[in-house]
Symmetry: C2
Subunit: 464 residues, 2 copies
């Protein structure tokens, strides 16, 4: 990805002289790297809490973990109630059938979040392959009674956006045409027969059909088999949709010394998918947020503004925490002077991205020199924001992001392989240093970032 | 691996002038590469037959597949009965328990071949980590009532030999000390939470305990958790050991034009593990053998000696096919002038290895120049042979091997990821070309290779 970054060319003009206190920069950056505190927090989170799917025991344990960590740092902590969907995985089996009854191939598959289960004996039908939503539409009623197989050619991280709708919208679209099930090729950049889950959306009142992700290898095989003839598949999913349950966002304030009413929000999401411990999605973000709190709380003097650390619940399968926060704090959002989310793994920092009003770039750039030593001192033309910040779009909160290396993020994203061992501690500590310094800069700067244009033009988004 | 190869330094001495017919070399090598016939055969085998564990429906289908292929080539084909062990995988579940009843982590695990199942509710005990069989012995009776966790640091393909005994011998050794279960870190050079199975040996009359492989990631986690305190694990295996069943080796002869009683044996194994289609273990070997048959049968003239293509049954969990062949053909083995097995994946060829008597090297080297274009024209000091050839050791059959690149072989070996997509067709076609030419050379050469020293000095082995 990095080769395609465009460095923002800024005329050497009236950039204000850096106003940061160099000791704070040195302190934050060196402590983040030397302590590797984010990595230690991440290790503790994933090993002691485990997977954290919304509504699960693990998610509740994560809330308690976060409250405890922030409290120990002396922050003002509270939990904000969020009603979350509860979706529970069950048995998962799939097979390609040759002659009736003769199973030739097991399919490595996993239910997509939001999918209903199949009948106990599973679902059996002929398979139809499509490669896009428009391709599906062209098949029209010919998919009736069939299992629609969504195939694609994801190869690099950026393809996640290109093919993501096959998973999020494909099954519902297939159901509308009368399909009885959906299999989606995993959105992955590497595979060891490991299916990658994720949310599929069924709008209220829609017909729900069982939907699962198949591994890249199984998608390749289905494609080959379909090239040779008819393919019948049977798959069984034991997943269930249960009633909504009470959960929480965890909100912790480090109150500002001069403008406590002005808020710089630093966010990540506490929940994860259930196949693994979510070390990178989004344990890494959680650790970056808590470690930033620790580093800022350890400075001799608090920043000018309030820094609010928000660990959102239910980013993965509902965004309920983010929506609830935006609603509950609607009147405060005008005083949110900046927001930054970490939800792109544990990769090293590559630069900074910004979504704000005219003149914001040069204002922010004045604070970037300390990030040069981390390889992240450049403003990049990448999207800023994050899924949990999207419900705030209406309030035109300036969005800032530390752009991270996501080259290998989609190797493991939403799969059973999203485990601690894939995190490279050195690069992660550099991102932690960048997070801490940038948060400090936004909270300490005398000037605030101009707010972005109204939401029609603002399209924050990120890999969920 | 390749950096450690030692090129055999041979004095430029009385090497006999090449006696091969250049047209045959050109024909075989160019046809193998242009047709990519081995890749096509491999695709057909894995897609139409699937997994082929001994005693399974898939293994029977593989026998029929092989008979049909050889018959179509006009070879003299027959099946030789082999009584194989039947081991069937079932439910597999594992978890790390924190407070009693609270599951924190699911374990990605898979039963080792030969393991008994657990009771229905699974097996629960404290975990003890050991890193070698001698480490285990030092723990002595302290492992009584515990689950022994065999950890190691496999990083490259060559480590398979170093740590392989933890899987093959560890569980029985732990059982002797009173352990109630065994978890073995997967023998793998890459992982996406993918456990790698394989045979564990229980000698007759030994106490059997349930034994499973855990993924590399889970091994890393267990190691971290054990560093922090006591770890309790529960795991359940539904595998079963059933009565032996009748299966077959498939043997096909291309009768020699001058010395039909002299046999050059080319082998691979038809069976595979059950987690995947065994594209590389040993579908690749099977395809190389059948494609060599096709290429040699397509020459205008048959080679001087008989080439015997043997597809062994039950290499993975018993070696019964190999033992049965050696026994049934005991009187013929003195006329087996060379044997070559393919059981190291689908990697490109790196050279040739040899286990034979004095003077064999220079004899063989005279036939290697056509392999230079394939990057395989050098005699390497690597082991020659293969597991299926080991029961012939007493007959001192000269062993020849095409040494292949196995850099990524143990990424997928014995795991669910041993699928067709990992095979690189170009490199595989080069190995097919080398196989065909080398087989031809051994069958056509007027001189035969001198036989190796008696078995005490001969230690053929290979990655199983």
């Amino acid at each position: 990805m990095s080769s395609s970054f465009l460095v923002v060319a800024l005329a050497l003009q009236a950039a204000p002289a850096p106003e940061q206190s160099p000791p704070a920069a040195e302190t934050l950056i060196s402590r983040a790297q030397q302590s590797r505190g984010a990595y230690a927090l991440l290790t503790d989170l994933v090993d002691s809490v485990g997977p954290r799917l919304s509504g699960s025991e693990g998610a509740a344990a994560a809330v308690a973990w976060a409250v405890e960590r922030f409290t120990a740092l002396g922050l003002e902590v509270h939990k904000e109630p969020v009603l979350v969907p509860v979706w529970v995985r069950g048995l998962e089996q799939g097979e390609v059938l040759a002659a009736p009854g003769r199973r030739v191939h097991a399919l490595a598959l996993t239910a997509l979040g939001g999918s209903p289960g199949t009948h106990r004996g599973g679902l059996e039908a002929e398979v139809v392959e499509v490669t896009s939503l428009s391709d599906l539409q062209e098949r029209g009623p010919s998919v009736r009674g069939r299992i629609v197989f969504f195939n694609h050619s994801m190869a690099v991280a950026k393809d996640y956006r290109r093919f993501g709708e096959l998973r999020s919208k494909g099954p519902e679209a297939a159901a509308k045409l009368g399909a009885v099930g959906a299999l989606v090729r995993s959105l992955a950049t590497a595979s060891m027969r490991s299916p990658h889950t994720g949310m599929t959306q069924f709008t209220e009142g829609a017909v729900l059909i069982p939907a699962a992700a198949v591994s890249v290898e199984d998608a390749e095989m289905l494609h080959r088999l379909l090239g040779a003839g008819t393919v019948r598949v049977r798959f069984a999913l034991g997943c269930r949709i249960l009633p909504d349950a009470l959960s929480f966002n965890v909100v912790a304030d480090l109150r500002g010394r001069e403008h406590p009413e002005e808020v710089v929000l630093l966010g990540a999401h506490l929940d994860s998918w259930d196949l693994a411990v979510g070390a990178q999605d989004d344990g890494a973000g959680v650790a970056l947020v808590v470690e930033t709190a620790r580093l800022l709380a350890g400075l001799p003097e608090r920043p000018r503004r309030t820094v609010r650390f928000v660990l959102f619940m239910n980013e993965e399968n509902g965004l309920r925490g983010a929506k609830t926060y935006a609603l509950a704090h609607a009147r405060e959002l005008g005083h949110h002077v900046a927001a930054m989310e970490f939800d792109a793994g544990a990769g090293r920092p590559l630069g900074v991205a910004l979504l704000a009003g005219a003149g914001a770039s040069s204002l922010l750039e004045a604070w970037l020199p300390p990030l040069v030593q981390l390889g992240a001192g450049t403003l990049l033309q990448e999207d800023a924001g994050g899924a949990d910040l999207s419900p705030m779009a209406g309030a035109q909160v300036p969005l800032v992001s530390v752009v991270q290396d996501t080259m290998h993020y989609f190797d493991i994203h939403h799969s059973a392989a999203d485990t601690l061992d894939k995190v490279e501690p050195e690069g992660f500590s550099q991102t932690s240093a960048a997070a801490a310094w940038l948060t400090y800069a936004l909270a300490e700067s005398t000037a605030v970032l101009p707010r972005p244009a109204p939401p029609a033009a603002a399209t924050p988004s990120s890999a969920r």
